[in-house]
Amino acid sequence: MRTTLDATPARGSLLSDPRARAWLFQIIAVAAVVGIGWYLFHNTQTNLANRGITSGFGFLDNAAGFGISQHLIDYSESDSYGRVFWIGLLNTLLVSVLGIVLATILGFILGVARLSSNWLIRQLATIYIETFRNIPPLLQIFFFYFAVLAPLPGPRDSLSLADMFFVNNRGLQMPAPLAAPGMWPFLVAIAVAVLAVVIFAVWAKGLRHATGKRLPVFWVSLAILLVVPGLTVMIVGAPFDWEIPELRRFNIRGGWVVIPELVSIVLALSIYTAAFIGETVRAGIQSVSHGQTEAASSLGLSGGQTLRLVIIPQALRVIIPPLTSQYLNLAKNSSLAAAIGYPDMVSLFAGTVLNQTGQAIETMAITMSVYLAISISISLLMNWYNKRIALIER
């Protein structure tokens, strides 16, 4: 006799079926999100109607009518809000790029110093890191802006270096390059030199792989980079005329001006972020096991070669992901600039433009999209780099 095992369990309520429950939860969640969204949208519509604000991006073509203390592209008060957007974006990018470069350099020095065999250097690096990463970046910006740069002397009593660089409470004034007849040949020469170096390096690498013969790539490249532009300058003349700032009665005229807001933000953000990058770099280098160093020296590699060919490539794999998030943090922290009136994206667009036009939703949406776009671009770039250097496993 055969007994049949009934495979289908007794059917309970629909609610105890996990799949039905999953559907139910998801429907509730989506309905809640849509409901909240509709509620906010509805309120916004009513509020906008009450206040008589017309939505839309037409305001971007209107004349801005206010001055901006730092613009990387030409700007006058009659320019449109659209142009203000580009100025804000460029100023934000300027802070982010300068900050990232400086913070990376300082951070790598700190990370290596934290692992130095020298006790004193190790302790100094630790003190630096523990001090600066525990102080809010905004406070550091304020410190540089209000406590360090603001008490500097006025333009008349500027501290000057060789009568070319002036430091005062209006910022740092320095000679500005102006295009001279030799500029284009000079730039072309640089491009040619760089191209030549790349071709030479690729060729040398191929030669090394094929025959094992090593060429002094570094020295040859350096020579190309120095000689080609140098010769061009000798033949066609100086590429730039320098406009040197000069002291007038009340002010210093001419030259490039780095405004104090920019100096304090870049300094504060790089000092702050460098502390975090230092820790990241230390952790990365420590993650490479000591056996790697021993293996490298048993192969006869020198200390420098071990570092360059064995330790750093492996450490970078660990360093890159957290380094990316530090870069992202720095880019986002650059918005702190708004607190001291540096004309960045937030203070120009979410601040001044919003106040003048009342287009809260549009300006905030634009501002936030810009930061989202910056964040996404940095992550994509770093992910690409990470993939390139990642361990290739079978």
């Binding site: 525990n134 008490p151 937030v346």
Partner: protein, 365 residues
Amino acid sequence: MTAHTFKPDLPAPTTSIGALGWIRANLLSSWFNAALTLLGLYLLWLIVPPLLQWAIFQADWTGTTRQDCTREGACWVFIQSRFAQFMYGFYPPELRWRVDLAAVLAIAGAAPLFIKAMPHKVRYGIGYLLVYPLVAYWLLHGGFLGLETVPSTRWGGLMLTIVIAAVGIAGALPLGIMLALGRRSDMPAIRVICVTFIEFWRGVPLITVLFMSSVMLPLFLPVEMNLDKLLRAMVMVVFFEAAYVAEVVRGGLQAIPKGQYEAAAAMGLGYWRSMVLVILPQALKLVIPGLVNTFIALFKDTSLVIIIGLFDFLNSIKRATTDPAWLGMSTEGYVFAALVYWIFCFGMSRYSMHLERKLDTGHKH
């Protein structure tokens, strides 16, 4: 024939043991190292003596007005005379005992949690987390049970900073855990909602979010619903930090081997029970350092409320330095602020290290 006896060992060379040996090994092991040591000493000489002169030996410690600051160094009189404002903001002086009492209750209430032998710790902890916020709200804000209302516009100083940070942590942790669970859920709709939420908040700076709270929230909400400025800022801080907490917790969840999920299911535990009883205790323990780092970041981020005009600790100091009676005191003010923030953040990071050691059960995943 006499038996050969060994002479006793010579002591190690004096240059390789003791203080001298230590100095040779750690400071002067090579020419490069010796140069670095000199550089380090030079830096110290450059920084430390002037700093000590300014902050301690040449500083003015007693007095009441600016005129009492006659010496070269720092004028700590400024901090002394504004101390109450830095701590309480514009909280009415005669009611400041309420803030003090709330602080004492917070510490006294939390103290039993740190006693090892305390029974029913979890229950007590949950009870404390449920009761204390009500008590704190009653004491700080008042308006019922016989206490006079102190509107949040009068809150300020370090007290406001701590209130925002505490609310931020208390709100962001549970929300962040829920988001992390949602992000790893099997239900696509829930996952998409959570991922969108997390990535949005992580992609924008807190400043723009705070800006949004002051200019956009009034548009989003009905006219009659007039949310308090502080409350709006707190909501934004909670959402913002919850996204970061979620990513940290997700890291912990991913580190738990699949066997644990399966074992929990095999025990007949449903989703919530297996999460609360099996997965989360292990996952959260793994990510304590990350969570504390997020909380430290949150504490530092509270300083951004200056943007929407709240008078937190940093803002009260900034305001005080622009007071005509105390012009030129920005260095003292900001150094003091830095010291206070530093003590809080450094304390938190040390406590997390301690906690990590204490909870380390030895098995790493």
